[in-house]
Amino acid sequence: MDQTDHQSDDLTTRPFFGPKGSGGPGDKGLGPASWLFSTDHKRIGLLYLGLIGLMFIAALALGLILRLKLMTPGSTLLSPQEYNAMFTLHGVIMVFLVVIPSIPASFGNIFLPLHIGANDVSFPRLNNFSWWLYVTGMVLAITSIFTGSGAPDTGWTFYVPFSERTTTNVSLAVIAVFILGFSSILTGLNFITTVHRLRAPGMTWKKLPLFVWSLYATGWIQVLATPILGITALLIFAERVLHLGLFDAARGGDPLLYQHLFWIYSHPAVYIMILPAMGVISEIIPVFARKPIFGYNMIAFSSLAIAFAGSLVWAHHMFTSGMSDTAVLIFSFLTFVVAIPSAIKVFNWLSTLYQGSISLDPPLLYALGFIFMFSIGGLTGLVLGSAGTDIHVHDTYFVVAHFHYVIFGGTGLGMFAAMHFWFPKVFGRMYDHGRAAWAFWLVILGMNVLYFPMFIMGLQGMPRRYYDYLPQYGPMQMVSTWGSWLLAVGLGLMFWNLYRGSRYGPAATKNPWGGATLEWTLPTPLPHEAFEGDPSAPEPYDFKGVNPDG
């Protein structure tokens, strides 16, 4: 790399996060505007990653405070109103600002174009606009906490009629959700178009990395389901401001209508959260097993199957709502159907490991953690899909545990796996592997100590969203809080290790893990412009002749 050469083809070697030219006076490649208004998918991905990380830490802190409050029964630490506002914020921030954008907006933005041999997404300016919508939604959501007559206290589900009656600042919060929805829709739209239009010559659908397949399926859910969330959020706003009475039984409305509208989006949203993580796992496992992914077609197809069937199961959140028993029958059946493609994926990942040549590096460790946690989350989901048993555990800690196993143990660990996998490619440096492993074991232990007791409490009838509880739940609540501390220590160690790696870590090589997808053919760290001309499409899981160079 000739640092004295300032020609434009320099863009294919200089790090994308550095200056475009020499970095001297007049070079506009590094100022704030070059980031905030960047149309470069890699910079936008990093911008997302930074804000998502910030929001994650904020909502994590809220979660730790909630756990601390719940350590002992009685009125301690928080007032009931503060508690209610805090679990609402924990949920709203985690769901809408962290988990939904997490992998697609950050690693999806960075690696989806590279995976298909493109230099950017189809609509780079729209991509930047999506990020600004995210920022706007974030600012409004935070504003809603500190303005008006108090932070929203409805829970992230905004159930009517409570959300219409409460005097807290719900109106602003639903507007924030509305705007965040558009950020998600536009990202999905961008990804779908990019996959259709910008694949390099020879990059056939069957040569797409599975990460791309998962983002493609996710994109369709984002585009088709999120508008319903937008409508629903606006309807709450209209109900509160104009008093339309759509959901108000006294004026001929129907509170259950709201629940249907809400879950028509929010159940598919769970697949927006989990599919990209599954895509990451499908990338990582073959690389570290040095073996082609088992059942490529089935995994790609199951992503689409989950996206489709997952759109038809929303009312399994409503078995106790008072809707008709026939609806319960149908939605319970469809829910069990969705379980099948998820099971297939897990078996395919295991078969990829079988007779591989496995190196237990940090990314694989996190990926295996995903499989374990997601299996528990998925299997306990069967209890919730089954009509008779759901009645007992619905709206209890069992659901809280199930959801956190799937979303934190699943999407969260998937995100962390992606961070450890692509870290050297993005930052050009390597983190400490030993510390990463330590952090992993602390995180996985912490998660299980934190969430597993909730399964037991849920089965014993402990309802969720309770400020206080009967003394019989005391011991389990106590253990759960200890788990939250373990988890916090583990996450702290992980973030610190990554931060140190990004600043002081040894320079990373071009292909430290021996990946066969296109991003590993590019310089490390990634340059401003990825490809000169069209790259030839590789077999993404053919490791013959591809070896780790680190």
Partner: protein, 428 residues
Amino acid sequence: MSAPELAAPQAVATAHPGDLVNAVASVDATFLLIFGISAALLLLITTAMVYFVIRYNRKRHPIPADFSSNLWAEIVWTVLPTLLVMGMFWSGWHSFRALRDAPADALEIQVMARMWSWDFEYPGGKHSGTLVVPVGRPVKLSLTSKDVIHGFFAPAFRLKIDTVPGMTSHAWFRADKEGEYVIFCSVYCGLQHARMLSAIKAVSQEEYDRFLAENPASTGPSGKAVMDAKGCLGCHSLDGTESVGPTLKGVFGSTGVFVVPGAKDKSEKKLVLDEAGLKQVIMEQRTWRVKGFEPIMPGYADQLTPEELNQIIDFLKNGEKADSTGGATATATPEQGRDLAEAQGCLGCHSADGSELVGPSFKGLMGKPSTAKDKAVVDRAFVQAILKDPAARLGRPSSMPAFPDLTEVQRQQLLLYLESLGAHGGHQ
């Protein structure tokens, strides 16, 4: 918080063999089935994962095998999970049916949820805040809500059903063992959601009968309906305004001043309008003329049955909803007001001891400047207006529901209760 027993009732041989499914046992069987299969699958997945990572470690197994599909394996792990989940689905549906299909002979109880308490209405009209049921008898619940969505959750009976305003939902259970079983609110409903607890008290049939008899409730059409039908309300208002005849507001227990027609000395008679007094005035109208009003009221001796008369007296005495407050006496008392405040759920938001909950504490509330837009002082008229339409009186949105169904007597009881808690500034 108290800790009622959470234990599941023991499965008892049913008195209606074949007819009655034991829903709890059915649900628990599904739990067992799903947990059993899940545990086996989790063990399989985790063991395989750990084994592969050790057995095919790069040091031990440097050259990976090269295969990426196996049709039979994929067919097996598509078909097998499909069969398993269909089995689970069927078992779950079956137990759901057991929870839903109430036996025909079930005792029907109405449930009203509100922020943040429960009200149970038994056949015959008796109300209570805890659910008292006879042991061994199926109980069918018809549930609704007064304000927001709540959830009736009785873990011991694996029973949960949302209560939705404007809609009636149903559920049933049967307690096979005497005892106390906790009721939670399962759907988040605001500030005191975690305190919206109650209990199912399963008692013997005799004790249940005694409980029902404690406070017999009125039956048949209400006295108000009778008065409406007989035209009484055309001349007598219920809200304190005078029209053709004197108002009936607060008439019970008051002392009426009457003139005796035909008497030369225009002498006045005083009569305490208790049960006997009112009956006398209504039935012997020709001899009782209220001072200051035209003597135009007809006699009702031949128009009212004794039962209808009793209903009217009952209404004038207790008001429409009085039976829910339990044993109203001749005049409103602060104690009745307190009971009413508890039964209506007022105390969920308004404390009686000065502590701030959602709304202002009742203690020392009278005479205090309000939080209404016009900063009006809380007086009797203010409280009356708030009870009718909180948002309108406050001039801002409020989470307090309106209580338009309260009778005048009940409102008076509440006011007396408020006044008994002291006025602003400390003077009693």
